[in-house]
Amino acid sequence: MKIYDFAFAPNPRRLRIFVAEKGLKIPLEQVDIFAGKNRTPEMLAKNPAGGLPVVELDDGSCLAESVAICRYLEGLHPEPNMVGKNSREQAVIEMWNRRIELGLFAAAGRAFQHTNELFKARIKQFPEYGATQREAAAQQLQWLDAQIGNKPFIAADRFTIADITAEVAVDFAAQAAGVAADPALKNLARWYESVSSRPSAKA
């Protein structure tokens, strides 16, 4: 098995953190998105959607979509449990993972794409739309602070895939979309300090 990865992109980082939390070692091969290497015919044959990460299995077949790959690894290596132990917990963790994806992560991604120089030649940018998404990302950070309250983790009494998505989304919003979390958001700050001091955060 190997992972086609790109060290600077947020979705590959989700997978690397997941792999680290599982205690797995899977070889990584870099695919430079900045140089368009994710859109070569070879890579498009592996993932026609062109995104990263992609996992190539030993039988030569490929899996794309970060969460699909995480679920595959969870199936092979159930411990530590990252996506839920019973029907109710699986649903709750999926709910929170998606809330972060569709809220903070998506808003930060759209702000980045519509305001950053990197995307100028690739997509038709609407800075006005990017500004609304920046505002949306800032609101999502406030919302997340309120939702975390005094809970130790996002979705359960332990670290789960929802924490990974949120951790990556918070960093991505700050680094790529210019929307840093206000330190006055104390719950968010406490949670972030805790998850980002785990060894997996450096993966």
């Binding site: 959607a49 679920r71 595959y72 969870e74 092979l76 999926e94 569709l102 809220g103 609407f126």
Partner: protein
């Protein structure tokens, strides 16, 4: 157990079709009128702070939001017929295709509607040009999906899965902005005819 939903919205339809395919017909539905913004009222926000439908209320008082999280709950409590995959790899493949259908199809038909329709005027900051981009992207993705369906009966392979439900709802929702399957898209038309004629499509 009950489900809060709104009949005309696309995501509640995903859950209704999923339940119909499972043969689950004893969960009561409670309508939350999005047209009068009942989903933004404090009583509703207590159930889902994102203010979105559908929401599943469990008998222990737990609220599960996010369509796919709700579907996953039902998949766990009533595994047959399998709509989210059979083994680790198949589950990952279905998840991958379901997410592709969400990102490539549903999010584009929804983005076109959100940014151009009168329904959302005054509710969200609309950027018409961005809506057009989503519309064009959706049209392009349908061309791609037609090629995907050349060698398979259903979206994720030989069996009907949640990915077919997401694609069906995403494509049908395109009608709100005039996005439809083109005459030369024979594979897509064949698939759409097949999934639309299942009794669940009317759920």
């Amino acid at each position: 157990m009950k489900i809060y939903e709104f009949t005309q919205a696309p995501n509640p339809r995903r859950v209704r079709v999923f339940l119909a395919e499972k043969g689950i017909n004893n969960v009561p539905f409670v309508q939350v009128n999005l047209a009068t913004a009942d989903n933004t009222k404090p009583e509703f926000l207590k159930m889902n702070p994102m203010g979105r439908v559908p929401v599943l209320e469990l008998d222990d008082g737990t609220y599960i939001a996010e369509s796919v999280a709700i579907c996953r709950y039902f998949e766990e409590i009533k595994p047959e017929p399998r709509l989210m995959g059979v083994d680790a790899k198949d589950k990952a493949v279905v998840e991958m295709w379901n997410r592709r259908m969400e990102f490539e199809i549903l999010s584009n038909t929804a983005g076109a509607f959100r940014n151009t329709s009168d329904f959302f005027k005054g509710r969200i900051p609309q950027v018409k040009e961005y809506g057009e981009i989503c519309r064009n992207a959706a049209v392009k993705r349908l061309e791609w999906l037609d090629t995907v369906l050349a060698d398979r009966e259903f979206i994720a392979g030989p069996r009907y899965t949640i990915a077919d439900i997401t694609a069906l709802i995403g494509i049908d929702f395109g009608r709100t902005t005039g996005i439809k399957i083109q005459e030369n898209q024979k594979n897509l038309a064949r698939w759409h005819q097949a999934v639309s004629s299942r009794p669940s499509a009317k759920a």
